[in-house]
């Protein structure tokens, strides 16, 4: 898994690619979320457009990031989940808590509301 971080319109954008599965990379993602919360970075846009696979450990880190940000008064929304990842959100019912978008401008605008 690769993680690219950038600030866009005051929103922290995290672009993930590859496999979001068990392993050392997941610790890195967890740290990125924790740093965002500790440094009061505000809202997070998580771009999953290039994520090929995700397992329950990967989902667990996303949920943990979402929960930590929510508790800190910030929001996390998801951009461009592939069909495979979207299916995962549906079967685990996480689709009921994750806000998902297919247009980056719309997603960024929603985080400014």
């Amino acid at each position: 898994m690769k993680i690219k971080e950038e600030m866009k319109d005051g929103v922290m954008v995290l672009r993930l690619s590859g496999k979001v599965i068990s392993g050392p990379d997941l610790m890195e993602l967890k740290t990125v979320f924790q740093t965002a919360v500790n440094n009061d970075m505000g809202n997070v846009l998580l771009d999953l457009g290039h994520v090929a696979w995700m397992d329950s450990s990967g989902l667990g880190v996303l949920v943990s990031g979402y929960t930590s940000l929510s508790r800190a008064g910030a929001r996390m929304v998801i951009l461009n989940a592939t069909k495979k990842i979207h299916e995962l959100f549906i079967i685990t019912k996480l689709i009921t808590i994750f806000e998902t978008f297919t247009d980056e401008k719309v997603a960024l605008a929603s985080l400014k509301e």
Partner: protein, 138 residues
């Protein structure tokens, strides 16, 4: 033909990645496509992680045993743990709502069921929990 492969591993999360790589190699050798092999390994490892965490309670002294066989047109994994989970008591498990949904319980098995063509739970001859995962080979 791959027959009678048995892998006995401790309930130790640090070994999961290595086992996943092994499962991918078995899958490729058996004829699973490059495109599908990650799905196969994720499905198997979700069941294995579930066996480690729930069946064996994360006790590193307890093992998970994976039996792998290739039959005509299908790859079979039998995954045994030391637990005595009664599947009939948990059939139709749902992810829950609210806090229950946020917690991680049961998510791995849901993912495995979604990826695998066939996943069933029962008991092995010793009366311990056995998951059977079958992956068709084209």
């Amino acid at each position: 033909m791959l027959k009678g492969i048995v892998l006995k591993i401790p309930s130790d999360n640090s070994i999961v990645e290595s086992v996943q790589i092994f499962v991918e190699k078995i899958g490729l050798t058996a004829g699973v496509s490059e495109e599908d092999v990650t799905g196969l390994s994720i499905a198997v490892m979700e069941v294995v992680k579930n066996a480690m965490e729930h069946g064996n309670g994360g006790d590193i002294r307890k093992h998970v045993t994976i039996h792998i066989d290739v039959f005509s047109g299908r790859l079979q994994f039998l995954i045994d743990d030391c637990g005595t989970w009664q599947p009939e008591a948990d059939l139709g498990h749902e992810p829950g709502e609210g806090e229950a949904l946020i917690s991680s319980r049961g998510r791995g098995v849901l993912i495995a069921r979604n990826l695998a063509r066939w996943l069933d739970y029962g008991l092995n001859p010793e009366g311990k929990t056995r998951a059977t995962l079958i992956w068709p080979l084209s």
